[in-house]
């Protein structure tokens, strides 16, 4: 069969690597598409057998269930879509506050585990080991059911200064907006703009004169000054502080703002857990900066704080950003475990809606795309920041 045609053309096509590669790719793609189509076909058939053809119209139906914590207006007459938004905002709230808290605590733990004080660094290491080796879910459930639900009842809540701890949650002082609050908000906005402008000015002057610019500090001072001035100058105080108080009768704490046990348990649990991992990242980052850098900075006459702020931290930060990104992403995704303690996050609302409407496929698609876009946004932002601070080599 091997005629002289093939000899004339050189390599036969079934041994030509490029052709083979394209055939393989086409085959793989074909198989993948076929499998997906097959699964999709099965799914559509099963859904039709259940009488639930794919559609998103159910989102505008009335939800009919309550959500204990909602950042936007919501009642049981609201739609499924509004319920989902409430869940999403609750997830976002825990994730954002969690990232801030875990970063702060994580830096403390990381620095503590490098402390020369043996007691402090052993404590930090033990803390890290405990949280690295126990599943978050087990800890969250323990934290919620073994600690927050075992707090005393509202009537004999324990008091920590103005904060009341009970099995119904944590009551904290809260400001009540007065008549002048809208005006005060404008003043704060003006103060913020003024602060940014003065910080930029200070930085420019610093670069011109070569002295320490104190731009952050200066900006903060300007903002606080404006805020204080506005508070004093307005005819009535914009916010009145409302302290929580124990009730004479009944089961609700009077006044203040009551944060539910679920919210506090999830938030503090995520912070405590992620801080252990961030602590490790911080420790590794600081250790990655060579000792010669500190010595050189000292030789140039930098003070201890200046060395940390201008020499060590910028370099440590560069090493820390990729692992920090993945910790932030982990925290965001881990906030989905809130469902186990009954915090009304996206996953819990998702579960409730599926129970009520039976729309598992559509709801799952919505939930996954929400998490996916949150993850992509976070990693996109961190990648941008990473590029900004990365080493510019010649």
């Amino acid at each position: 069969m091997t005629s002289n045609i093939t000899q004339r053309k050189g390599i036969p096509f079934w041994r030509d690597e490029r052709v083979l590669q394209w055939i393989t790719q086409a085959l793989v793609l074909g198989v993948v598409i076929a499998v997906i189509l097959y699964l999709y076909g099965n799914m559509v058939a099963s859904l039709e057998a259940l009488g639930l053809p794919l559609s998103l119209e159910f989102l505008s139906l009335q939800s009919g269930f309550d959500i204990s914590q909602h950042l936007i207006a919501y009642s049981r007459t609201s739609t499924y879509l509004q319920a989902l938004s409430v869940g999403f905002l609750n997830t976002l709230l825990v994730a954002v506050l969690g990232i801030i808290g875990a970063t702060v605590l994580g830096v403390v733990i990381g620095v503590a585990s490098l402390s020369s004080n043996i007691l402090v660094n052993r404590l930090a290491r033990i803390y890290t080991e405990i949280f690295r080796n126990i599943p978050l879910l087990v800890f969250l459930i323990f934290w919620y059911r073994g600690f927050f639900l075992k707090l005393p009842s509202v009537q004999d809540a324990s008091e920590f200064g103005p904060i009341l701890l009970s099995n119904r949650g944590v009551a904290i002082p809260w400001g009540i907006a007065g008549l002048t609050f809208p005006a005060y908000r404008l003043i704060l906005l003006a103060g913020f703009i003024l602060a940014v402008v003065s910080a930029l000015f200070l930085r420019q002057r610093g670069q011109r004169t070569g002295r320490m610019p104190f731009s952050t500090l200066g900006g903060l001072a300007v903002f606080l000054g404006v805020a204080l001035l506005g508070w004093v100058l307005l005819p009535a105080a914009p916010l009145t502080i409302d302290l929580p108080a124990l009730p004479e009768t009944g089961f609700n704490i009077l006044g203040g703002k009551n944060l539910t046990s679920e919210f506090i348990a999830v938030l503090s649990g995520l912070v405590l857990y992620t801080a252990a991992f961030i602590g490790e990242v911080v420790r590794a980052g600081i250790q990655a900066v060579s000792k010669g850098q500190t010595e050189a900075a000292r030789a140039l006459g930098f003070t201890g704080f200046q060395t940390l702020r201008l020499i060590l931290l910028p370099q440590a930060l560069r090493v820390m950003i990729p692992p920090l990104t993945s910790q932030f992403l982990n925290l965001t995704k881990n906030s989905s475990l809130a469902v186990a303690v009954g915090y009304p996050d996206l996953v819990q609302v998702y579960g409730t809606i599926i129970n009520q409407s039976g729309r598992a496929v559509e709801m799952t698609a919505i939930m996954m795309s929400v998490y996916l876009s949150m993850s992509l946004l976070t990693s996109g932002f961190m990648n941008w920041y990473n590029r900004r601070v990365k080493l510019e080599e010649r």
Binding site: Q25, V32, S116, E129, P135, L136, G146, A360
Partner: protein
């Protein structure tokens, strides 16, 4: 202390560098006012935590729930004599004994004396027996639970002995048995699955010792460990394939790998488990359905594979180009280069990261409790809800945390040993 000898006249021996206890305290705890403050703060913290924890453990806690529910927590509903069925738990125990023997063999063959660890292992059963005794003497709770504790200690002692036999054999044959140990490790995990699963007739008609036990009866620690083992074993080849796919020159394959990896890594595991439990049966043609455990295993494997792929990719990226060039210079083809030159080096470089991921995988198996499986955490939820043991959340959850901690810590310890043995990062 001052035994140093001055070799030449006129050269003074160094002054004693060894600090006294007081010096040590001063250097480590009170070197500056900040350190003094930190020390005082830490001492207060330790005091408050210990006082609260010990006070609770010895006065309020109701530890009777642990021995009463121990079997449930360890093997779940696995058919056992205690529940009035034909006993098959011995198959699980057999797995443990084999494990002990392999560990001992490996240990002995690698020529480690490891007296410290042997002492620790020998002390373990004693401790296991002692803790309940001390607790009984200190608290005098009602009911007798000492028997169960002693039985457990005896079993651990038996495990130790089997391990010792393995160690002696390994010691006797020396390094020649290292290869055997490696093969045994690889065979061990499939063997565990076969032993626990069984084959042939259902266990209720069970006359044969290896009658099959359906997965829905697996539970407790057994299920958690099996989920982790299955996840690790099966995600490994998939993960390596995905990593190679992501670095492939072929556009379609690369794109598919990237989409898969980024999608899985972008969503929480719990949402995938929900898909498994709510939707997997929708995708199957009617009539075919899997039970919950198998679905969880599939999901955990697919989830873990995406993360593993990223770790392996990290390893592949750190192989210098010269390795590829050298391989093709001595005439190796694409597959040969990959499997004999690149992958062995790349995988070795990422062993620590992979072990870290496997620890994470083991911890993540606890999530299956949310979709209603009875793993260690799921069973714990059931025990807490038992009306006979109301209010024992702390006891039960602390107890299972101990298991998670022990296994994860053992894994991370092993990973550090492997790291030093292979010289990762030093070569």
């Amino acid at each position: 202390m001052t035994t140093s000898v001055s070799m030449h006249k006129g050269i003074q021996p160094p002054t004693s560098a060894r600090p006294t206890a007081l010096d040590w305290i001063k250097i480590n705890l009170f070197s500056s006012w900040l350190n003094t403050l930190l020390t005082l703060f830490s001492v207060t913290l330790i005091y408050v935590i210990l006082r609260g924890a010990l006070g609770w453990a010895f006065t309020e806690a109701n530890w009777a729930v642990i021995p009463a529910k121990l079997r449930l927590l360890l093997v779940g509903q696995y058919p056992s004599a205690v529940a009035g069925e034909v006993d098959y738990v011995w198959r699980v125990s057999l797995c443990l004994y084999i494990l002990a023997a392999i560990i001992g063999l490996h240990w002995g063959a690698s020529g480690r004396s490891g007296e410290r660890y042997i002492t620790a292992l020998a002390l373990l059963p004693v401790l296991m027996a002692l803790i309940p005794v001390v607790y009984h003497l200190a608290v005098r709770p009602e009911g007798h639970t000492l028997g169960a504790a002693f039985l457990l200690a005896l079993q651990i002692l038996a495990l130790d002995l089997v391990g010792l036999v393995g160690w002696l054999i390994g010691r006797w044959r020396g390094r020649r048995f290292i290869r055997l140990a490696a093969i045994l490790w690889i065979l061990y995990f499939p063997l565990v699955i076969v032993l626990v699963r069984g084959f042939g007739a259902d266990y209720r008609e069970g006359i044969t010792p290896f009658a099959s036990v359906p997965t829905r009866l697996w539970g407790g620690l057994l299920l958690s460990l099996l989920l982790a083992i299955v996840g690790i074993v099966f995600s490994f080849p998939i993960g390596v394939a995905l990593a190679l796919g992501r670095r492939s020159k072929l556009v379609v394959i690369r794109a598919l790998s990237v989409i898969y990896i980024e999608f899985i890594r972008g969503v929480p595991l719990i949402s995938l488990l929900f898909i498994g439990s709510l939707m997997l049966n929708l995708f199957m043609p009617s009539g075919i359905s899997f039970d919950g455990v198998v679905r969880a295993m599939v999901v955990i494997t697919l989830f873990s594979a995406a993360y593993l792929a990223e770790n392996v990719r990290g390893g592949l990226q750190c192989i210098p180009k010269g390795q590829y060039e050298a391989a093709s210079a001595i005439g190796l083809g694409g597959f040969q280069t990959m499997f004999f030159i690149i992958l062995p080096q790349a995988l070795r470089a990422v062993i620590p990261v992979m072990m870290g991921q496997f620890i994470g995988l083991f911890k993540d198996t606890s999530l299956v409790a949310i979709v209603g499986l009875l793993d260690l955490l799921g069973i714990a939820g059931g025990v807490i809800a038992d009306p006979n043991y109301l209010g024992t959340q702390r006891e039960v959850l602390l107890f299972i945390s101990l298991f998670y901690f022990a296994f994860s810590y053992a894994l991370s310890y092993t990973s550090r040993r492997i790291e030093t043995n292979l010289g990762v990062g030093t070569r």
